[in-house]
Symmetry: C2
Subunit: 188 residues, 2 copies
């Protein structure tokens, strides 16, 4: 009656079970491919298909000669991957810039920054050894970190990477200074 799920999907479930029930944690070593194939009564090739799939998702990491390890899969590796497919046919620069600005404007709307963060920002702006791009990146990095949303940061970084090759619409230096003033005021 159909719905006989493929072997590699069963293996997938088993890995999930290991994590959920046997308490495997990031960094832990999973059973070897050969061992899993015995454990699950499946061919090693099938086990590998499953492992390769979740490796692509960034859930595990394999090191030849060592073994297969659980990764800290909260690093949103999948987002990158999916985005690489999404972006390949809609790499329209304007959309990307607009999207980037949406995120940047959002983090700029944070209520207040710590003294330390303000100092950081001033240093970045004062550092003449930095390129325009570097400055932009570091400047907003402070805000993204202040905002403390890893996902947003991750997406923004992705956009940065993608838009690095195309010419950036450059922000004038004044732009950053204006931003700084805003927060300066809230403290003084």
């Amino acid at each position: 009656m159909s719905e006989r799920s493929k072997v590699y999907q069963q293996v997938l479930s088993e890995i999930q079970r290991l994590i959920k029930e046997d308490g495997y944690l990031p960094g832990d070593k999973l059973p070897s491919e050969r061992q899993l194939s015995v454990q699950l009564d499946a061919a090693r090739s099938s086990v590998r298909e499953a492992l390769r799939a979740i490796e692509l998702l960034g859930i595990i990491e394999t090191r030849q000669g060592e073994g297969t390890y659980l990764r800290d899969y909260q690093t949103y590796h999948a987002v990158e991957l999916l985005a690489s497919f999404v972006l390949q046919d809609s790499r329209i620069q304007e959309e990307l810039q607009q999207a980037k600005k949406v995120l940047e404007n959002y983090v700029l709307s944070i209520d207040s920054l710590s003294d330390q963060q303000l100092t950081q920002l001033r240093e970045i702006l004062a550092d003449s050894s930095l390129s325009k791009e570097e400055k932009h990146h570091r400047f907003f990095l402070v805000f993204f970190k202040a905002n403390d949303n890893q996902l947003l940061l991750r997406i923004w970084r992705l956009m940065q990477d993608f838009s690095e090759n195309i010419e950036q619409d450059v922000y004038p230096d004044q732009y950053y200074c204006d931003m700084l003033k805003k927060y300066k005021k809230t403290i003084e």
Copy 2:
């Protein structure tokens, strides 16, 4: 000199190339596993590892006896899976919700909507056959389309898929009505 990427990663690149350069579209049939293995000079098992991986991502679909087909990968199937791994963590749920709201708030800030779009919105709100989730989705879809940024729309959809698996913080009906009023005013 290291960096010899694994075979299955090469296959992955090849699939991407097919899509990008040879213009494969959703629904198209990919070369068979055996043909790919010849084409890429790799063992069929290696080809399969790659195919299984991107199948898990929802990019392709395989039907025994028929072949392997490109899917409309705008609806990422992988999110379900990843969600089951990742979304236990409540912190990630919060981040996701926050990120989604950033995008939603942005498209809500659009200056004006057409009469037709306003009508659409009213119909969606009035349609009692829609679930809460459906309503939310369609409501914002109008705004995203009005805003005409494919990239933002796709990212938002991705987030929607992700957050569908976890309990949504429900918006009260009043929320949508308030939004509507805002635009009603600009027209009348």
